[in-house]
């Protein structure tokens, strides 16, 4: 089963092999969760959305059409789940789509409330350093639009090319690259210009 492609595992699960699903989750969970964490900025929400995404597949495996890249499909479902979450949260008046709070506080303050910063005064080892860097990256990308953020995270986590991402998002590749450029500019400002 470890030699099977994700597409084969998905097809096997659709035929009733539950062990195929276990292998699928094992292969996708880190990337998919990373994507959702990046999109939402919160581990608990990313966890819920991860569950929601996979349960959609579990309850209706026939929604995944054989012959298509499973990754492209599952990341599309995850993306839609993230946007549904944003819409729900917007009506509940918490974090706006731009990443700042409704009361006007900045996104860095917002990021602090989200628990995404705070270890600047420590002397971290390499692992912690990477974790801090990861948190800073997520905080920086929360300042750009969800559309720009999703292109960045899709490219990093899904393994899809920009052409495939453009097809997934139903956008021209020029638009996708422009969004990636905006997201990267925010990162450049946060990670490199501040050095």
């Amino acid at each position: 089963m470890t030699d099977f492609t994700e597409e084969k595992l998905a097809a096997d699960f659709a035929k009733g092999k539950t062990e195929a699903l276990e292998e699928l989750i094992k292969r996708c969970q880190s990337d998919l969760f990373g994507f959702l964490l990046g999109m939402t900025g919160r581990k608990d929400i990313a966890d819920d959305l991860f569950q929601e995404t996979f349960l959609k597949f579990v309850r209706r495996p026939q929604l995944y059409k054989d012959g298509f890249k499973f990754r492209a499909w599952i990341f599309t479902v995850a993306k839609n789940a993230a946007y549904d979450y944003f819409r729900r949260e917007k009506t509940h008046n918490s974090i706006s789509l731009s990443g700042s709070f409704e009361d006007g506080s900045s996104d860095s303050e917002g990021a602090a409330v989200l628990g995404l910063r705070g270890l600047e005064n420590d002397q971290p080892d390499k692992r912690l350093e990477n974790e801090m860097l990861g948190e800073n990256i997520r905080a920086a990308l929360l300042s750009v639009s969800p559309e720009q953020r999703e292109v960045f995270y899709l490219r990093h986590y899904s393994g899809l090319s920009f052409k495939e991402i453009a097809a997934l998002l139903n956008e021209p590749i020029g638009t996708v690259l422009a969004r990636m450029s905006r997201a990267t500019a925010a990162l450049r400002k946060e990670l490199v210009d501040k050095d």
Binding site: F13, E22, G34, L37, A46, G134, A178, A185, L187
Partner: protein, 153 residues
């Protein structure tokens, strides 16, 4: 090119991710090394790659376990339903077959089960004769009644 962005930034991004056509790679690398903005872009992407891919963020163990339990439940629900449906169909077939047998056998009385064809014929004839006799008796009774009625007027 202004301070904030460079028109070649998208090519820099494509080059970083290995999606630039081979013919353009050399000129892109030359540009990156000479452009302040593009070299910072490449560095930011490198840092992001290193940090995000080394993180290995995972959902909670209970989440994956819950998903798998849902899969098992929906699978066993389907097989239970199939079993019940098969059992229902089987029971219906037995019921229809039994009804067909019973209604077929009901045309003869129980003690005729082992009767031969000639015996059955004799019985039917006797039964017919008996009916005729009874009808004749009734007709006679009616005629008598008629006579009584006529005589009374």
């Amino acid at each position: 090119m202004n301070e904030q962005n460079c028109q070649f930034e998208e090519k820099t991004i494509l080059c970083f991710f290995g999606e630039l056509p081979d013919s353009e790679i050399e000129s892109a690398k030359k540009h990156i090394s000479s452009c302040g903005i593009c070299s910072k872009t490449a560095r930011a992407l490198m840092l992001a790659d290193k940090a995000l891919l080394s993180e290995k963020n995972m959902p909670a163990r209970s989440t994956a376990a819950f998903i798998l339990s849902q899969a098992e439940n929906s699978g066993s629900t389907v097989s239970t339903f199939k079993k019940k449906a098969l059992a229902f169909v089987f029971a219906a077939v037995i019921a229809i077959a039994s009804f067909a047998v019973i209604s077929g056998r009901g045309r003869f009385s129980a003690h005729l089960d082992t009767a031969s064809v000639s015996d059955v014929q004799q019985l039917l004839e006797l039964s017919f004769d008996s009916d005729i006799y009874m009808l004749e008796e009734e007709l006679s009774a009616l005629e008598l009644s008629e006579d009584i009625l006529e005589s009374s007027f």
